[in-house]
Symmetry: C2
Amino acid sequence: MRSLPLSQIRLTDPFWTNWQKTLVDSTLPAIYKQLEETHRLSNFRRAAGLEEGGFEGKFWFDDSDVYKYLEAAAYGLAIKKSPVVRKQVDDTISLVLAAQQPDGYLNTFFQLKHPDLKYRNLHTMHEMYCGGHFIEAAVAFAESLGEKKLLVGAIKYADHLLNTFGPEKRRGYCGHEEIELALIRLSDVTKQAKYRELAHWMIEARGHSPSPYIEELADQESHALSPWARGMLLQQERYTGEYFQDHAPIREHDKIVGHAVRAMYLYIAAADLAADAADEKLDTALETIWTNLVSRRMYVTGGIGPSSKNEGFTEDFDLPNLSAYAETCAACGLVFWGQAMLQATANAEYADVMERALYNGALAGISLTGDKFFYDNPLESRGTHDRTPWFGCACCPPNIARLIGSLGKYVAGVNDSAFYLHIPVGLDVTTRLGGVNTKIEVKSNYPWSGEIEITVSPEKPTDFELLVRIPDWADDVSTDLVNSEDEADYESGYVRFARRWKAGDVVKVDFGIQPRWVESDPRVRDNLGRIALTYGPLIYAAEEHDLGFAPQLLSVDPELEVEVTESDILGGIKLLATEAISEREDFVEGLYAEVGTTGVRENDAKFIPYYAWNNRGPNSMQVWVRKG
Amino acid sequence: MRSLPLSQIRLTDPFWTNWQKTLVDSTLPAIYKQLEETHRLSNFRRAAGLEEGGFEGKFWFDDSDVYKYLEAAAYGLAIKKSPVVRKQVDDTISLVLAAQQPDGYLNTFFQLKHPDLKYRNLHTMHEMYCGGHFIEAAVAFAESLGEKKLLVGAIKYADHLLNTFGPEKRRGYCGHEEIELALIRLSDVTKQAKYRELAHWMIEARGHSPSPYIEELADQESHALSPWARGMLLQQERYTGEYFQDHAPIREHDKIVGHAVRAMYLYIAAADLAADAADEKLDTALETIWTNLVSRRMYVTGGIGPSSKNEGFTEDFDLPNLSAYAETCAACGLVFWGQAMLQATANAEYADVMERALYNGALAGISLTGDKFFYDNPLESRGTHDRTPWFGCACCPPNIARLIGSLGKYVAGVNDSAFYLHIPVGLDVTTRLGGVNTKIEVKSNYPWSGEIEITVSPEKPTDFELLVRIPDWADDVSTDLVNSEDEADYESGYVRFARRWKAGDVVKVDFGIQPRWVESDPRVRDNLGRIALTYGPLIYAAEEHDLGFAPQLLSVDPELEVEVTESDILGGIKLLATEAISEREDFVEGLYAEVGTTGVRENDAKFIPYYAWNNRGPNSMQVWVRKG
């Protein structure tokens, strides 16, 4: 199964068309402004010799934000014309290409600051990570807009890598995975196997002892590069490599460890390696890691990586809410990895997780106005969290931007004889099915409504399968193939219609969305005695703004009715409400007193979608409310 | 009011006599062994020229552990003879005095490693902190055992300080407060005002802008001293000084901030400054800081300083249980500061807090065997916490040791016409009251029983007041003056008998100890919906060892009867038990599922005193259990 090229698919439901409009009108110009103000673009000008000055900025991987912006912009411009964005993008592309060295190398930090120390410290310096995002941007322009200017540079960059690393050359791979998946994309667009081969070799090389990073430590000169360069390794008494997924050869990985974003990017590429040839051991390893992640280490929002210490994973069932790191980039990465696993297996369980991360953990990373961002996404706030226009390490803003822009790649999939609707958003697609050009139109107001209508229009009657995913949360699904007696069956979490289609055939599906209280595995100690409210794919949260008091004070009875109201707040949401009890805060006895000192009162508890929280100023918020 | 010299008071109840026996037989030899093995004693030998070699050890304040050991040993030897401890102490004292420079300076780190950088970095290097503990050890030997050998050295050290710092000399004070309170003790024992004057001047000098620490930053040479030396200041965008209580002049302090142990030690000395002369502003400041601490920033165990980041304070009501830092030293410090405030005011509220910290937050810092220690004291564990014989930064073991050894100084107080029993432990005292030598004998089995009997035996009939504190948790107290019609009255939390006493007069008090569930101010978000079980001064905890499952799974109904049983486990405790519900852990639905998926079962929930937890191996523990 493959995703649909963005040139063939258009999202049409109000929810996502609004987010994609915001992307082009607000997010992309806002990010460009930050790239300029924080000297990220100046660094390219300076490396190109167009401006005087050295490298400016806190991080040696600042270039990557420029590339991710370009990638998001390529998607945005395919969705909606914008002279402003177009101009900014063209300027940026020119700068990037002007800065690239004749030999293909490109990294403004090294070119401006340490031209003699290139590729001397792979574990910390993120050179290939930046290069991977350069390639992804180039591929996006080629695929979404048919523009190949950047691709020429990216190929030159990749060829330089091929001349530097590989089985006959140097054993080396980047401390932050990304180049692997990028080289695979480059291979797809150029039809050149050599890039995929280098990517696969890097994945295979990783995790064998001794790690090349240990040798790098001996390179005293390279310690000048970054204050972290040595510390990253030395902070551990012995090198375990888990932080970089460098702890074991890939087929021996048996749980999700280390830095969350790095892990996601590695396993996206590894899924491609597994698909390359029958590789049962790698298939099993990936399934095992995935299962560990989603059944023991994932927040209900699809956020992953609970700890700020390693921006990553800790122990099974360790999912604290207030201190949840759950980086926006990691949730985006989970959508990306989920897609890779889904395309390899056609198993809807992967799409369940993609949907969870997309509508909750990832989307919470961006404000409704499109110009403010969360880096970490806690499931509880006591009023101190607030989205901000930018970060010193600014990986998240362009990452959520590129996910929103490229969403058409994730919601559906095709092969020659089947169309899969993974996430029931509204969309228009024209693609070849059963050898015939076929238009598929999904009318949807998801996630606010679970009723969708799919109209299938092949140019002439033809046989293919139409598969619609039944979400894991849906327990009252009805399907109707209008004016037909044909029966659907079920396959790996999809309802399947296998038949001869003619123009104008209509399928109706109702996922029966109702408010639904969920609980956690009791081994998640932080959620014991707590429940979370959901509505279709959306996780809901209680926010002080709606309650007039901190949601931590709430106790709710899941047996009581939850009222669903259309609301025009927060861009138009469904507001959920139920009766609740809350503690009064007029405790007067000092910190501790006889049980029963605290008074309680009855309230109406209101809940909003988690992704929409903190759009009315900082205030207290809670996903997992007490059951009482 | 003053405390009783340890030579005049002896503790007699089973609880504390056992702890004091353990101190001498186990704790002191165990600490000595560690001091030797970790090269702390070698450093003194080397500084004295008795052994070859440089400074060895992780921390530049390692000397302080040797002094605190000596202080604890002085108390221990006054309680119980021990040839082993005596020999080790004598050897240690000889080493310390041999290492001291002829000019009085003493610090083995500087003498061995940086002889030219003495007093060049006061904010980080703890020279005066070490010196303060040297002085405290010397005072302890003089007061408890009448031995003045160490005192001669301490006076030389203090005189060297007097020649270096002061109003006419250099403006400087230690980044870690301690020297101030030590100089005050030295003044008391030597009757020399000049030491107290220097201490008071240092308290007054602190917190005025610009801080001398800012100037120290300009001293590039001193940066060689410690990797933290600059970082400690530079990690904040601007210098606030809160970490060192250097943020404002002392009379302007209005809440408790920064490093918890430092704060305690400063305010102990500040209470002396306030007592020195009528100083309403300082009195008010100290009361305000204290009230902020005990009504907004103190755990129910008397643990203080919730955060490991600054080993100190954060925000009001921020009291997380699992990650509670609540350093053992800070709880000891709270007992010490409480006493200083209590002696200034005779208000039992200070003793309430001392008792809370003593029996819970401080005592949990040491194993029942006396040779393993906690640095941080969480109120919840998921099985990863475990006491250990020693720490790289080993401040806590000798601190809890010196508190146990000197407990007679904290449980009672006198002035010429009154005897105060602050904490109703068993004790024998002979002191002068109403001008007459009087023996006071308290028979007690506290905290296991709330019934005590006080026998008063003046050499001849005399008038004085006998005051017994009514603990804040006691709501059913009865008192009986045997064979007398005299009535007691109440004064600032004490029941007072003011009369003419004759030999053999007996007062009986029953504090009516019953199991009691307490709750927190609802602004402590982490404790919402949770309750803690107490028994007299003891906070109880549920431990996996007694339950067979993690206590986080428990829900208890405070309306149900709590059964109290005598038990011989854990050194002989009262075991509390009640019926409870707990979640089953056979959840099979993946991480999240429809509410009601988790099954429950009925259990007997058993609770042990918090101080006694983790004495049967690491396992899950919880103080604040769910109310359900």
